[in-house]
């Protein structure tokens, strides 16, 4: 009986720790399979032959299909420039130039909204909708209150994920991606 209890404890604790450690690596903790700079994280081997199960799991468990960076260069942000978790109750200024790419889009989704009972919403803005500044840069306001200019609505109250996608990126981006000319994400105020 005593051995049975020990077996149950070992199996539950072991399996739990195994799943927890797997999910941590899949989410990018430790940076073994992803690259980060400031708030932005990239999974450069996604959708390629050199990909691995963790990268594939990152996309599939987050309800996205992995795709080659030569086709789409994708970056995620779950935090702002100060490292604080993105919060749907706050207003953020997203500013910057864009790398040379055929077209781009910036969208957000709530990472805890995958249940079938409450369909998640997505919201995005792209290179063809954005009003640019005279120097070619842009300024997007992520806020759940109406904003003038480029306005992106957050899709949830917490655990927001911003995704920046460069479609058909230039060779210089896809061959040797560098975290240059990426937008900054600055918290302005919160409700």
């Amino acid at each position: 009986m005593n051995s049975l209890v020990k077996f149950a404890v070992a199996s539950i604790a072991g399996l739990g720790l195994g799943v927890f450690s797997a999910q941590s690596l899949i989410d990018g903790y430790g940076g073994l399979f992803n690259k980060s700079s400031g708030p932005w994280t990239s999974w450069p081997t996604a959708g390629t032959r050199s990909s691995n199960p963790y990268v594939r799991a990152h996309y599939l468990t987050h309800d996205r299909l992995p795709i080659s960076q030569f086709e789409i260069n994708e970056l995620e942000a779950r935090v702002d420039d100060s490292g604080a978790q993105l919060d749907g109750n706050c207003t953020y200024d997203i500013k910057g130039p864009m790398p040379k790419t055929r077209w781009w889009s910036l969208y957000n989704f709530s990472s805890d909204s995958g249940s079938q009972t409450s369909l998640p919403k997505r919201a995005g803005i792209g290179s063809q909708q954005v009003f640019y500044q005279t120097d070619g840069s842009f300024h997007i306001k992520l806020s759940n209150e109406p904003q003038t200019g480029n306005w992106l609505i957050p899709t949830g109250d917490d655990e927001l994920v911003l995704v920046l996608r460069h479609y058909n990126p230039g060779r210089s981006i896809s061959n040797q991606f560098r975290f240059e000319n990426l937008p900054t994400i600055t918290k302005r105020d919160c409700r």
């Binding site: 604790a13 450690s21 959708g47 990909s51 963790y54 799991a57 468990t61 995958g114 058909n168």
Partner: protein, 181 residues
Amino acid sequence: MNGKFFWLLMTAIFIVVGHLSYVLFVPGYKMGQKFDNGFVVNARPAFVTLSEKQTIELFPAEDPAVLHAVCPFDVSQGPIKISIAPFEHYWSLSIYSQKGDSYYSINDRQSIDSKLTIHVRASARVEDDEVKQREMVRDKTVLDAPTPKGWAVLRFQIHNGASRAAIAQQAKTFVCQRDES
């Protein structure tokens, strides 16, 4: 063997089993379930243009600026053929294995021919797919699928609801069907 060491070893084994099972099997299973619930893979494969609601159910974290058309297939029932006619806007095609691995990808700018045809067939040498997964035979591309079941996914850029309807209409020129040749 020391009793405490034995149970620590057992726990460590369970950690490894839990970790590997979660990484290797759960994502592919989850994606397979989604597609099995969303589509009926039958002897007549075809592209299905996803509505906004279907897209949210299948890929809730995908880009809202993209219209998806999906062709689930099973090459164990025979090879399939994907035909792409000239299209004036951005498109990209990715082909995924049942596990969610992308093994082929092309877009409108890479497609030199005005009409592109891709043949996907069951591989007689699945283990050999790293060596020769893709063959160019005359003017057509032939792919050996690493798993019998898979999905061809088309992506189109859309700007708004009207754009979605127009692109969805034009996307019908893309054909996914059983390869009778």
